[in-house]
Amino acid sequence: MKAHVLYRGEHHQWIMFARDEEKPEKIIDTNQYLVIGKNKSLLIDPGGSELFPVMLGSVLKFLAVNEITDIFASHQDPDIISSLGLWDEALPNAKLHSPWLWEGFIRHFGMNNIEYVALPDEGGRLDIGGTELHFVPAHYLHSSGNFNVYDPVARLLMSGDVGAALEPNDAPLVVDDFDSHISKMRGFHQRWMPSNAAKTDWIRRVRKLKIDIMAPQHGRLFKGDDVGRFLDWFDALEVGSAIKD
């Protein structure tokens, strides 16, 4: 598992964990994120149970286990949060911020100690030791209850499955040629994203944000102008491809 510092500011830093060499072949590669603030830290989409030992081992290189105070799960999928039962043993005092819609489902992954903080559909905010992170609604992109995390100070949007690409485990971390990257994203967005209306609404809201880095849960980071290029490309893309005319 590689760890990369995406942002280091006065009060907090963003770390990305990705490209796990230990990952079983048939499991989709995922990107996990950690925001370390003063006295508080947020683990974003910590991943599946298969990933847990590597992920915990990687996180411990940056901070003590009891310094992780909060977890965020963008939605209910196993690659996002099936490790919950294990984190529950490691972080008994932590809070899990996740869509209200999925509480009864996510608890199936095992949650005896961690507190579930149900995010309302309109989103919410979380102070991580002096930095306020925004939980941005991304419903139906792809899950029916779904959020992204926006950091206005780092100008970073953790975009969940939006911007995801399916590619080999050793792919570069950052999109270097947007046009050639399209082929790695198209099928995923057409099939996994169900709603054109949801997509258009999300793009309208996200265009108003100042974003230097867009960080999806699979694939590569979008930096600088590639963020805008992605939004334009996504805007023009018809999604929900499993329904034929």
């Binding site: 030992p53 081992g57 290189k61 901070l63 003590a64």
Partner: protein, 203 residues
């Protein structure tokens, strides 16, 4: 994990055998009650049979009670084995995290968690051992009662032959008691076999 799955399967098999035994015991209790009604009509000719039906009825009630108790024990063992499997698997994951973290990390934090998981696993193992002991004792007791019931069932045929005009009805009932008792014995024997497997798995 396989060990716990084996325990889970074996304890559920015991519960299933006892469920069948209890169902048969309920039918036996009903047969005994019918027999009591016949012996009332048969009067003095069936006094011996009447005493047997009282015993059979009490015995059937005991088997029903024991079956319910053993079933609860088997379900508890099954749950405990799953919980134990989860603890062992979690412990393995944290041990792997310890290795991945390496020396230059905060991995010392994990010691307390690993210790707690180890203690939990040991406690579950000890609890399971005690529960298996209780299960074995109750199952043996039921089997002993069934052996007595087998003898009584045979005696009931002799008593039925003295019941005059009611002889045929009481013969049918005596046969029913004998057959049902034998079936219950078969289920208890099967449960014992699963218990032996369970004990072997847990040793």
């Amino acid at each position: 994990m396989n060990q716990s799955i084996n325990i889970d399967v074996a304890s559920n098999c015991i519960a299933a055998e006892l469920y069948h035994a209890a169902t048969l015991a309920k039918s036996l209790s009903l047969t005994a009650k019918n027999a009591q009604a016949i012996t009332l009509r048969a009067g003095d000719n069936s006094l011996g049979f009447k005493a047997i039906t009282v015993f059979i009825n009490e015995f059937a009630e005991t088997i029903i009670h024991q079956a319910s108790k053993i079933n609860d024990q088997a379900v508890s063992i099954s749950r405990l084995s799953i919980s134990h499997a989860h603890t062992m698997s979690t412990s393995k994951q944290f041990n792997r995290a310890w290795d991945f973290a390496g020396k230059e990390s905060h991995r010392e934090d994990l010691k307390e968690i690993l210790l707690s998981l180890h203690e939990r696993a040991n406690q579950a193992q000890e609890k399971m051992r005690l529960m298996l002991q209780h299960l074995e004792f109750d199952l043996e007791e039921s089997q002993m009662q069934m052996r007595a019931a087998g003898i009584i069932a045979t005696t009931s045929k002799t008593e039925a032959s003295r019941a005059g005009e009611y002889q045929e009805s009481l013969f049918t009932i005596a046969n029913n008691i004998e057959t049902t008792s034998s079936k219950i014995r078969t289920h208890l024997k099967a449960a014992s076999k699963f218990l032996s497997e369970l004990k072997d798995t847990n040793s």
